[in-house]
């Protein structure tokens, strides 16, 4: 969200960041829920709730890379699951916690790379490849965990700093997971917008043929982005394991919709060529506030799904109105 100067009639004006509109939508939503239920605005509540949605937010931040390239991954939820399962089983098997974490993340990166290799060599869109690999990863997870939860119970594991820090045993003013995810967002933002790798991703998403003719190794970049998506999903998996202290056979299975919705609400188009990491963070917060708001206001579960859909439309509407006004204004 860096203000960009541009000249107009000899005067230096500052263009508001593109995330402004979606930020306004978020503030309006928070304002509405807060006005109806003031308890919602207690800082401790907001921080804890943000922590609950932080893993989905992290993955939304990374899926922006794929969307910017004009691709979408359907398997990341199961990559998260299998990475967490492998990390958890490694810990239970007596492998040191930090090494188990590396195993989980590396497994995620490998799964992502496999998606990329299959996409490139089968010349198929990632969405089609991951339709299959999602089930493969889920299946391997079910076989590995014997269709049960993986719960490290040995005090040597549960009292490890990794579990104590993420699980909230160590008292900090801001949940550790939230700090970690915010730092990850800075890295993701800089990677997409300040590195050659990021520019190449956007170029491929904008016009793949032109990017190829310009000498960009499109196949290699695709595999690298898929591996990055896998690695970040793996990070999400080990964070989940530390945060919740266990991983279930169903973990990650329902992440697809909120993650993709967060990126799109945040302002990343499905058409590729552009993307906003910070927008996806705000988008994830909007998805979170809607989920929390439905509970705080006391909307019955039967009505909750309808209300969630309507509020997402509202948020996208506010975003679009502000974008159009900004465009006219400039």
């Amino acid at each position: 969200m860096i203000a960009t100067p541009f000249g107009a009639k000899g005067r230096t004006r500052f263009k508001l960041p593109e995330e402004t509109s979606v930020l306004i939508a978020l503030i309006v939503l928070i304002g509405i829920v807060g006005a109806l239920r003031p308890t919602f605005l207690k800082p401790v509540n907001l921080l804890n709730l943000a922590a609950s949605y932080s893993i989905a937010a992290l993955i939304a931040g990374c899926i922006v890379f794929l969307l910017s390239m004009g691709e979408i991954d359907l398997s990341f939820g199961w990559i998260l699951n299998l990475s967490a399962v492998l990390a958890g089983l490694s810990m239970i098997a007596g492998i040191p916690v930090w090494i188990s974490i590396v195993i989980g993340i590396a497994a995620g990166a490998l799964m992502g790379a496999l998606n990329g290799v299959l996409t490139v060599f089968m010349r198929l869109p990632l969405i089609i490849v991951t339709l299959g690999t999602a089930s493969v990863f889920q299946g391997i997870s079910l076989i590995s965990n014997k269709s049960g939860s993986v719960v490290p119970t040995d005090p040597k594991i549960t009292q490890h700093i990794f579990f104590r820090a993420l699980g909230g045993v160590i008292d900090t003013p801001v949940p550790i997971i939230l700090i970690f995810v915010l730092l990850a967002f800075v890295v993701l933002h800089l990677t997409l917008h300040k590195t050659r790798f990021g520019y190449r991703i956007l170029a491929i998403g904008s016009n793949p043929e032109a990017a190829r003719l310009a000498g960009i190794p499109t196949k290699k970049i695709k595999i690298q982005v898929c591996a990055l998506m896998g690695a970040v999903s793996g990070v999400g998996g080990v964070l989940f394991l530390g945060f919740r202290g266990a991983v279930d056979p169903s973990t990650g299975g329902q992440l697809l919709l909120p993650v993709v919705a967060a990126a799109i609400i945040g302002g990343t188009p499905l058409s590729g060529g552009a993307g906003t990491i910070w927008g996806s963070l705000i988008g994830a917060m909007i998805v979170g506030v809607i989920g929390v708001g439905v509970v705080f206001i006391g909307i019955d579960a039967v009505w909750g799904t309808l209300v969630t859909g309507l509020v997402i439309l509202f948020a996208i509407g506010v975003d679009q109105i502000v974008r159009v006004r900004k465009k006219r204004g400039s």
């Binding site: 807060g34 207690k42 709730l49 949605y53 049960g148 929390v292 509970v295 019955d300 006004r325």
Partner: protein, 363 residues
């Protein structure tokens, strides 16, 4: 200029929020107020779960408390835990929740530690410091397996039996599966096909059973472990004009009872959704009002109902029911409430006496 206005508007809104935040009072802090109970289910839009929700609402009405019902559209523990945490943050006085996932345990214990009492129902989280209301899951599986075995020829039966689990890994279903397989293994000539993943979604569930019967046309029985199975098995048998394969499973939804009535399925075990919905709310309200601490594991049996087209066996010495009366009850909340009145006045009211060690759940 317009952008400037937008920014000013946002700042004003933020200021209003800050002011209202300062005056925030948790509902739990207000004395003499009407209690609010949070009720979290693991999936919304499932007929069996809706029966539990309806019973919880009846309890709230009877006890003059507010109830907030929530839960994810698809069964996923983390989303459910987040919903429970949101309820706790919103200031409810107690939370009843099913616990389908081990990853919910630490989060729920944190809620309990913060002083909000919790009661579990339908799905048990091992390690949650709260009482659990539900069936004896392994034992109910044994009952179902034995009834199926009796129908296919007893311990001398020979052939295949298809077993389907709509949610592999869900602890209660795994326990039921264990019980069913335990009973079926008493017949050495019976070969188990599966357990196959038959999915929760009604359409996918039907398709799964259809495929399983097509692959095993001579199967002696199809045994499901979840609410959609009996109805699906009935439809599959009907579509295939199959009158020989026994259909069995769980729950007394309208569709399942219809399948039993038309003869396309044969056995369904109920797990008293009324008690699973009513009792957790009752325990919470009663314990809060009387200052009883409930922050340790315990088990209250919700009972098992055994239903075929010709007989209905209800737990807790409830009045005898005909199949027609059971069907009418499934469609009417008022009739259900009236039928369970003796249980409300006895078993539920005396919940403290009926609280057993948690080990009894999987005995």
């Amino acid at each position: 200029m317009k952008n400037h206005k937008v920014r000013l508007g946002a700042l004003a809104l933020a200021a209003i929020m800050a002011i209202t935040a300062g005056s925030a009072i948790s509902p739990a802090q207000a004395k003499g107020k009407k209690l609010t109970i949070g009720f979290v289910v693991h999936v919304v839009g499932n007929p069996f779960i809706q029966q539990i929700i309806d019973a919880a609402k009846m309890a709230a009405k009877d006890l003059d408390v507010n109830i907030k019902v929530t839960g994810p559209a698809g069964a996923e523990g983390d989303a459910q835990l987040t919903a429970a945490q949101n309820l706790a943050a919103s200031g409810v006085d107690g939370i009843a929740t099913s616990v389908p996932s081990a990853s919910m345990v630490n989060g729920l214990n944190a809620i309990i530690k913060s002083g909000i009492p919790v009661v579990q129902f339908n799905g048990l989280g091992v390690g949650v410091n709260a009482p659990y209301v539900g069936e004896k899951s392994t034992q109910s599986g044994r009952i179902l397996g034995k009834m199926v075995l009796d129908k296919i020829g007893g311990t001398s039966a020979e052939g295949s039996v298809i077993v389907g689990n709509c949610y592999p890994g869900f602890p209660v279903l795994e326990n039921r599966q264990k019980g069913v397989l335990e009973s079926l293994k008493k017949a050495s000539g019976v070969t188990i096909v599966g357990p196959s993943d038959v999915k929760v979604d009604a359409a996918a569930n039907f398709a799964a059973w259809q495929g399983l019967l097509a692959a095993n046309p001579d199967a002696l029985a199809m045994v499901g472990l979840c609410a959609p199975d009996v109805e699906s098995i009935g439809k599959v048998n009907k579509a295939a004009d199959n009158t020989t394969t026994i259909g069995a499973g769980y729950d007394l939804t309208t569709g399942n009872l219809e399948a039993l009535a038309n003869g396309s399925a044969h056995i369904s075990l109920g797990q008293t959704p009324f008690i699973q919905g009513y009792l957790p709310v009752y325990i919470l309200v009663d314990s809060i009002r009387k200052g009883i601490k409930i922050n340790k594991p315990g088990f209250i049996d919700a009972g098992t109902e055994v239903v075929t087209a010709t007989s209905v066996t209800e737990p807790f010495k409830l009045p005898a029911l005909t199949f027609a009366k059971l069907q009418a009850m499934a469609k009417s909340q008022a009739k259900t409430r009236a039928y369970y009145e003796p249980v409300v006045k006895g078993y539920i009211k005396n919940w403290q006496k009926n609280l057993k060690p948690i080990a009894q759940e999987s005995a």
